[in-house]
């Protein structure tokens, strides 16, 4: 994981770090269940204060990206992501449901639906 913080940015240090970790998780560079570095070693490596790292981990946990276990450390937790992805899927499912229903109503065949999807994807 690459975390580079800028001292001359207006964005607070803890926000910079938090966002970079979130990015790493979403991109898959950090895997579900992976142990994040210990607060002290992370702080020493990135050269920020322990309290800053602590705050990052706390906020990551609040926002659903990590889970801390007493005595063992903080782990990446994709639980929330699954939920997010699931709920997005559900929205699309619902839209597709409507399309299928209308297709049946207007007597449009499944193959025609597929053809329409292809064209729509190419338009984007």
């Amino acid at each position: 994981m690459n975390v580079v913080v800028s001292n001359s940015s207006d964005v607070p240090l803890y926000v910079q770090i938090k966002e970079q970790i979130k990015d790493a998780i979403l991109k898959g560079e950090l895997e579900d269940g992976e142990l994040l570095p210990s607060i002290r070693s992370f702080a020493n490596d990135v050269q920020v204060s322990v309290l800053t790292v602590r705050r990052v981990y706390e906020e990551l946990e609040k926002e659903g990206f990590a889970v801390s276990q007493a005595g063992r450390g903080t782990f990446v937790s994709m639980g929330n992501l699954e939920l997010l992805r699931d709920s997005k899927r559900r929205i699309i499912e619902q839209d597709l449901q409507k399309a299928v229903h209308n297709a049946r109503l207007f007597d449009i065949a499944k193959d025609d639906l597929y053809a329409m999807l292809d064209i729509l994807y190419e338009e984007d």
């Binding site: 607070p12 240090l13 002290r40 070693s41 702080a43 020493n44 204060s49 322990v50 309290l51 602590r54």
Partner: protein, 288 residues
């Protein structure tokens, strides 16, 4: 998060100087820098924490235990580094160690020997012949050789050359990475704090001025510079340590958002810990 050291309402009166209701708490796992100018009350506070000076009021807790009721138990678990004048000068380091070591239940001679070697100290050497840097290192050896959970240090780096200072900082980092639960050290050398402090406590005139995470301080404060003409009675309030000259004004602010709104044409720069400290204790605004 547990607090490793809690000072509450500490009062200590001397004829010429008083600690006035000092309160602060240090979370576990942090290196805390206790900064202030000379005479601000740092040493008096530390001596009160260690019961070397008897407080007139207030409670102090270390590891959640009261320092008066559990004095010996607490002292067994903390390492102390004071300046080099706290040794018997006529004795050798070995002799000094033979007096101090038995007081600690978890003393480790193996640790002692390995630290002495690491710091290149000859145990048979007489303490009066040691340089200031070597004395500080010896004090560290004694503090680190009994599995101390908390290190309390009073101006450990004053009078030391930059090389020794940097070695000292490295040792503190190692200590924290290897099971140390906290470090509390007083200093007036702010550059040390830039490197290793997690939390800062600023004291001036016997009062605590601020206690904050170092990164928070550096995130919140900015140096402001601009044209004197832009100042008015209102936006003046947002600036500390204001200095006005014929070329412009300069100061420090922690109200960055307001500053950008009220004075959009000023220059905002990152402040160092020293800037922040001076702004608070430099004696108010200076308008000519």
């Amino acid at each position: 998060m547990n607090n490793i050291l809690e000072v509450n309402g500490l009062v200590k009166r001397y004829p010429a100087f008083s600690l006035d209701n000092i309160s602060f708490s240090l979370p576990e796992g942090c290196v805390t820098g206790f900064i202030g100018a000379n005479g601000a009350g740092k040493t008096t506070t530390i001596r009160s924490i260690l019961n070397l000076a008897h407080k007139d009021a207030g409670t102090i807790k270390i590891f959640g235990l009261d320092t008066v009721k559990h004095e010996q138990e607490i002292k067994d678990r903390i390492g102390i580094v004071m300046d080099g004048s706290y040794f018997y000068n006529e004795l050798s380091m070995q002799d000094m160690k033979s007096i101090v070591a038995p007081a600690y239940s978890k003393w480790s001679d193996a640790d002692y020997r390995s630290y002495m070697e690491k710091f290149e100290l000859d145990p048979k050497q007489k303490i009066s012949t040691l340089s200031k840097g070597m004395r500080m290192k010896f004090a560290l050896v004694l503090a680190l050789s009994h599995q101390a959970e908390l290190l309390i240090m009073d101006e450990p780096t004053s009078g030391l050359d930059p090389l020794v200072r940097s070695q000292f900082l490295g040792i503190v980092m190692d200590y924290m990475e290897n099971g140390g639960k906290g470090v509390f050290f007083s200093t007036h050398i702010t550059s040390d704090l830039d490197k290793i402090a997690d939390m800062l406590v600023l004291i001036d005139g016997g009062k605590i001025i601020l206690q904050q995470s170092k990164d928070d301080l550096l995130d919140t404060f900015r140096i402001v510079k601009g044209n004197v003409a832009l100042l008015n009675d209102q936006n003046r309030q947002l600036i500390r340590g204001l200095k006005v000259s014929s070329f412009g004004f300069t100061g420090i602010t922690d109200h960055v958002a307001k500053m950008k709104k009220e004075l959009p044409d000023v220059l905002l720069e990152k402040a160092t810990i020293e800037d922040i400290m001076l702004a608070y204790i430099g004696g108010g605004n200076d308008d000519r």
